[in-house]
Amino acid sequence: MLILRNLILDILVIALLIFSFYYFLSLRGLHAYEGSMADGLSAAYIANYYRARGSSFLAYVHGVSNEGMPMDVVGRVIDSTRSTIVIYSGNRTFSIYSDGQKVKEPFFKDINSFYIQMRSVRELRNVLVKINPISGNLYDLEAICNNINSVVRHSGLEAELITLNFYLFNSDLMNKIRSGDVPIQLILYKINTAGMGRASLVTSVLNPYYLSIQDMPLQRIRDLDGILGPWMGEDAFISEIEVRIVLNKIPTQEQISYIIRAIEAIPGVRFAKIVPEFW
C-alpha cells in the first residue's frame, strides 16, 4: 500500500515537472515579453532591452492624436530610441510618447499615449540590406530599393514593410542653411509630422553637416523629395544607407539563400542578411 502511494506521488511529481517545463518552454518560445504600460519611456526601455537581444515587437497603442482625436494603432515596432517607440502602421510611422514622461525626444510626437500593450515575437524574417553611398538623388535610391523589392517578390514572398535609414549631404542645401536661406526647422517638422520617419540635422554649433533620416517608409521617398527638392542642388551624397525589410512570412532556407544571393547581385548593394531584429 505504501509502495503504491509513493509510486502515485512520484508519478504526480514527474507529471507536474514535465508540465511546468513544457509550460515554461512554450512561454519562452512564444513571447519573451508581453505586457502593458502607460508611457513611451517605459515602452522604449522594454523595447530597447529585448530588441537588443533579438526580439521584435508588435504593439497596440491607445492615445490621443495631436489633432485631439482618440486613436488606437496596432502595428510593428520598427525602432525605439531612449524614450520613444516608433510604430509602423498603414504606410506611415508613428512616434509615441506621453507629455508627462520625464525624458522626451526632439522629434514631434504623433500620439500621446495612455496605454501601450507590447508583445515580443522572435522570428527570422527581417532582411537587412546595406547599400554603398550614392552620388545622385533620392530617385536613384528608390530604384535600388525597388530592385530589392522585386527580388523579394520573385522569391515567392512579399515585403510587409520596407523602411530606410540614411544620411543626406548636399553642399548647396548646407550652404543655404548656414546663411539662413532655408527654413530648415520647418522642413524638419514637415518630415517629422507627416509620418515619414524621423529627420534631424547633424550639426555643430555653427556648421550644419548633413540630414539624418531614420525609419522612413519606402513609399514616402517621393514625398521627401518633394519637401527637400526645391532647396537642394542637383546631386546629393547619400550614405550610411540601410534598407530594412520585414517579410510577410518566415522564409525557407532556399528562399533565404536566393534572397541574399540575388540582392547582393544588385549593383550598389554592399551586403544583405537575415536578422531576428534590426538593431
Binding site: A38, E67, I177, G180, Q185, Y189, K190
Partner: protein, 238 residues
C-alpha cells in the same frame, strides 16, 4: 456624477476618453487655482486632454484654460484642485476636426477663422493644432524666452516655441484660434519695430477643432465643405 478627487490630470484625461468612447457626453466642473493668482470655479467642455494637460473651454464665460500640474510650463494657466464630470446621454455639444491645407500663415489662419465663423451659434470655440514657422531676414537671433512671454499673454492652449537660426517655430496643440492670430500680429509688430524683415510665415499641418452646440451636424458639414475644406473627423459625444 464622477468626482476625480486629487485632481489628477492623468486620471481625468483617461476617464474622459473612456467616457466619450462609450458614447456619452461629459460636462466638466473644475475648481482651479489660476497661475496669476485667484481661485475659479467653472463648468465647461474638455477640448483636448493628455496625461499632463487639459485644454478646458468654460461655456459660461467663453474663455479657455490650459490646466496642468507643472507650474514651470509657461503655457499652463491654471492648476486644478477638483474635477467633477457630469455625464449625459447627449448634451448637444459636438467636436469637428477640420484639415486646413499648408500654406502662408495669414491665408491659413483667415481660412480657419472663416470656418469658425461659418458655424452660426453663440456656444462655440475654435482651436488650432499644427506648426507655424516665422522665417525672417536677419543675422540677429531672438531669444525664445522673449517670444514665450509674448505668447503666454495671447495664446490659451498647449504651445511650445523654438528659435533656431532665422526661424521662430510655434508648435500648437488645441490653442485658441483668436489667441494665435493675436500672437502673430503682436510678433510681426515686434519684429517690424526692431527692423527685422519677415521673409515668410508658413503654417504646416494645421487642423482646426470646433466645439459647438446649437447647429445640426449636417449644417456644419455643408458649411465647412462649402469653404472647400475637409472634415477629418466628428466627435458626436464630447
Amino acid at each position: 456624477m464622477f468626482d476625480i478627487r486629487g485632481s489628477s490630470i492623468t486620471g481625468a484625461s483617461a476617464t474622459y476618453y473612456k467616457l466619450v468612447s462609450n458614447n456619452v457626453s461629459v460636462l466638466a466642473g473644475v475648481s482651479m487655482a489660476r497661475v496669476e493668482g485667484g481661485y475659479l470655479n467653472a463648468t465647461g467642455k474638455i477640448v483636448y486632454a493628455t496625461d499632463s494637460f487639459i485644454v478646458f473651454y468654460d461655456i459660461t464665460k467663453g474663455t479657455t484654460f490650459l490646466m496642468g500640474q507643472d507650474f514651470t510650463n509657461p503655457a499652463v494657466s491654471a492648476i486644478p484642485v477638483r474635477i467633477t464630470y457630469r455625464i449625459a446621454e447627449d448634451d448637444g455639444f459636438r467636436k469637428f476636426f477640420i484639415e486646413i491645407p499648408d500654406g502662408d500663415a495669414v491665408s491659413v489662419l483667415s481660412m480657419a477663422k472663416t470656418a469658425c465663423d461659418s458655424v452660426k451659434t453663440l456656444e462655440k470655440a475654435c482651436y488650432l493644432t499644427g506648426i507655424i514657422d516665422v522665417w525672417y531676414k536677419s543675422n540677429s537671433s531672438i531669444a525664445s524666452s522673449l517670444i514665450n512671454s509674448l505668447a503666454v499673454e495671447d495664446i490659451q492652449g498647449i504651445f511650445e516655441i523654438e528659435t533656431a537660426g532665422n526661424e521662430i517655430t510655434l508648435k500648437l496643440r488645441a490653442a485658441s484660434l483668436d489667441g494665435v492670430r493675436l500672437f502673430l500680429s503682436d510678433l510681426s509688430r515686434m519684429l517690424a519695430q526692431q527692423g527685422i524683415e519677415t521673409r515668410k510665415v508658413y503654417a504646416v499641418g494645421i487642423s482646426e477643432i470646433i466645439v459647438e452646440r446649437g447647429v445640426g451636424i449636417s449644417d456644419v458639414i455643408s458649411a465647412i465643405r462649402n469653404l472647400g475644406l475637409e472634415i477629418a473627423g466628428i466627435q458626436e459625444r464630447c
